[in-house]
């Protein structure tokens, strides 16, 4: 794993990967969204408002996946002192927060015609709002105290502590009577009709690849920034 601690080696892998993730991700999102918006059937009760599912589910999935990635990177950073883990964790924070906001906004737009309200303080909705605030706090902390381009150890600890919220979000609809429906796709199968399901899966994969591309771009940006800083310091010393 430490082989890729060398930025040159990492960059030689990240550069083509960014491009492939981006192209493949955008292609899948185009296919999934076009099918979902124009060809997939309307829902029995929700009608056309069901189509926001194709954006809502992938964004919230990545909102939770983003923090899970931050927590894993934080453990790797603290245990192995891997320099790229700190850079990766920092790179995930802003897109993670953005996707959380998108998930909340699309959910709210869906809730108005379906539930009859823009917002409720139920377990699922509130715990995702908490996730959004955790992201904001993490970003503030990461930018206030960076080490060699990555996040500081205090920020890494915060990343691990914040992971507490992920199982709570996942279980919120099971533990508490919630207005949000329980999970449709579980290990046991899916209660989403296959006509809705496949464009949804295409979009989930597409958005995940796009997210990966954004994170790789941001990692490359952070590494380039550190390089510039180091060079400027050397020039100033000479």
């Amino acid at each position: 794993m430490h082989a890729y601690a060398n930025p040159t080696r990492f960059l030689s892998l990240a550069r083509p990967l960014t491009l492939w993730f981006l192209i493949l991700g955008l292609a899948l999102i185009t296919i999934g969204s076009a099918y979902g918006l124009f060809y997939a059937p309307a829902d029995r009760l929700m009608g056309d408002s069901v189509r926001i599912l194709y954006i809502h589910v992938p964004t919230v999935w990545l909102a939770m996946g983003g923090w899970t990635a931050i927590a894993i990177a934080s453990i790797v950073q603290i245990a192995w002192r891997h320099p790229l883990a700190a850079v990766a964790a920092r790179a995930v924070a802003v897109p993670g927060a953005l996707f959380t906001a998108l998930g909340l906004i699309t959910g709210s737009i869906w809730a108005r015609p379906t539930w009859g309200t823009w917002w409720v303080w139920d377990g699922r909705v509130t715990s995702v709002l908490v996730l959004f605030f955790l992201y904001l706090a993490y970003i503030a902390l990461a930018f206030a105290s960076s080490e060699k381009g990555g996040v500081s150890r205090v920020t890494a600890i915060f990343g691990i502590v914040g992971a507490i919220n992920i199982p709570i979000i996942n279980r919120s609809v099971v533990w508490w009577n919630s207005l949000h429906q329980p999970a449709s796709i579980t290990v046991g199968g899916s209660s989403i009709d296959s006509a809705f399901l496949w464009p949804l899966l295409v979009n989930v994969i597409g958005f995940s690849l796009l997210f990966g591309a954004i994170v790789l771009m941001r990692m490359r940006g952070i590494l380039a920034e550190t390089k510039v800083e180091a060079r400027l310091k050397r020039m100033a010393a000479e």
Binding site: L45, I78, W175, N177, Q181
Partner: protein, 149 residues
């Protein structure tokens, strides 16, 4: 034990302790964090007349009755075990149909009727295309007349 492993063990231990603490706290919150009470909860806890409560459950099939004024609707909420008659005056959400989930804010009157001030519809985890309407998962034909009104 190498320093690296010691750090890993500490980090994992901290994570496990934190998640455990979070789960315990969430579990303890079970009653307070409930978004609504089911009809069975109302039977069990006997809320006072006039106390603000939130009722949630399924709208019993065949129970929705619209009054002549066009905006008042009476219906029965059930959770499989208990039944709670309710009434609401106002525009109902699109998903408010017989057999679907509902969450309502309101109060109980002395004669046991639940008077709702707000009414929210709850969607379940099933997504079914319109073409398959009326055919449930087991292949039985269900009532569809209520979906059109």
């Amino acid at each position: 034990m190498k320093a690296k492993h010691q750090r890993l063990a500490l980090a994992v231990l901290a994570l496990v302790a934190l998640v455990g603490a979070g789960l315990l706290a969430a579990f303890a919150l079970q009653d307070q964090a409930n978004y609504f009470y089911t009809p069975s909860d109302i039977v069990e806890k006997q809320p006072e007349v006039g106390q603000a409560i939130r009722l949630g459950g399924m709208v019993q099939k065949g129970s929705i009755q619209r009054a002549d004024d066009g905006v008042t609707v009476t219906f029965t909420v059930h959770d499989g075990a208990s039944f709670q008659p309710a009434t609401y005056t106002g525009i109902t959400p699109d998903l408010f149909v017989e057999g679907s989930g509902v969450v309502a804010d309101g109060k109980l009157t002395a004669d046991g009727l639940f008077v709702a001030d707000t009414l929210l519809a709850k969607h379940d985890e099933n997504y079914i295309p319109r073409e398959l309407e009326g055919i449930d998962m087991t292949g039985n034909i269900t009532r569809t007349d209520t979906l059109v009104e």
